[in-house]
Subunit: 240 residues, 2 copies
């Protein structure tokens, strides 16, 4: 009998220009697949990989409306009309399927639990694959860090509550996969972040002070990214 | 009883400038660790991670004498004097431990089998962790490709033999981890490469023709990298 562990095809993919991770998850029994945070610039690569692995994309999931790159969901849907786009219901964006706290996304014999983790944006969602003790945290939790909170409805107080109640409350051995990493890390665990996250190990008050004083530059691609991502990267059929 | 699967701490680390992957493997029972292909520029990051994970580095392994970046082995040894450098015996370089075909490198309760895979360089070694069905292929096999064969004793004919007899002969489900990837892939499998490798699925004659006509530019950092890597990145104590 195949164990649950063996049911998963898993690939972590990287977009170097924006240091974005895209995750391919597929059920080996049914060959149904999802992509979490696909990047527009990488859609051809991802389509080729899906074909080579012989899997069928059912969901193109965005953890949130990204400000630094354009999502690949729209282009993926054009190529694969059976694929549905997924986005958190509080995102203010457009998508085929909106998810809320505790909802479940099934693909084949695998299932993702949706956890609302606002604070970086209102619609941020963390997707948990309990069968494999993995969680995809978007920009809510990064390796030893977290996403910024100074635009897109950002709130350090909300983010602190989200991460502690929805992510770092998972069992200690759960692996956490971020939407970005800028130093070459690919994964972390609940245990590691509880001990070593440079921001989230602080008190809430200290965390808010840190986040309010980051003085980060305005994201380079935000003006093209936000409008496109609010409609899940769906390009007008006439203009595309 | 802990299964073998649970014995491993595994981290894939990335150096963006040279698209190099470094692998951290550690035995959870003994906390003994190895790094495969550490990069000089990332040694501080890697030392911090080793400390945070509470593991003790016993081997700094180089799959071969790299031409595109300087190995971190020397600097790691300065910081962690108990760590030994490891290199293939045919490499022509200097190291604490030289490995040959079928030798075994033990760290805690885990073990790497060494497989000589010359062709990119003479000393190229693939390290296989049979307990977890993983192999670290250096530049012998890359995702959908392979390392170049036009300098450093390179030989397309030798590389073709190496990859087919030592890597693609592993069981189909074995995961293959390359030393580099330039398109954002992080891992592949024997099955995938047998079906989709753009070069190694060809006949030996076609493969040789492809490799002899790549016309690649001379590696940017080869003149500083080779001399340093031939001595495992050990800098002179006086000058360091
Ligand atoms: Fe974001
Ligand atoms: Fe190389």
């Amino acid at each position: 009998m195949a164990s649950v562990r063996n049911l998963l095809v898993f690939r972590q993919l990287f977009h170097k220009e924006t240091s974005t991770y895209t995750y391919l998850l597929a059920c080996k029994q049914t060959m149904k697949a999802v992509l979490i945070d696909p990047v527009l610039d990488c859609v051809e690569r991802d389509l080729k990989l899906l074909r080579e692995l012989g899997v069928q994309l059912v969901y193109g999931i965005n953890t949130h409306v990204h400000a630094d790159h354009i999502t690949g969901t729209g282009k993926l849907k054009q190529a694969l009309p059976d694929c549905k786009s997924v986005l958190g219901s509080k995102s203010g964006g457009r998508a085929d399927i909106f998810v809320d706290q505790s909802e479940r996304l099934k693909f084949g014999n695998l299932m993702l639990e949706c956890r609302s983790t606002p604070g970086h944006t209102n619609g941020c969602t963390t997707f948990v694959l309990h069968d494999r003790a993995m969680a995809f945290t978007g920009d809510a939790l990064l390796v030893r860090g977290c996403g910024r909170t100074d635009f897109q409805q950002g709130s350090p107080s909300t983010l602190y509550e989200s991460v502690h109640s929805q992510i770092l409350s998972l069992p200690k051995h759960y692996k956490l996969y971020p939407a970005h990493d800028y130093k070459g890390f690919s994964v972390t665990t609940v245990e590691e972040e509880l001990a070593h996250n440079t921001r989230l190990t602080k008190s809430k008050e200290e965390f808010i002070k840190i986040m309010d004083n980051l003085n980060l530059p305005y994201p380079k691609r935000i003006d093209e990214s936000l409008p496109a991502n609010l409609i899940c990267g769906v390009t007008d059929p006439v203009s595309s």
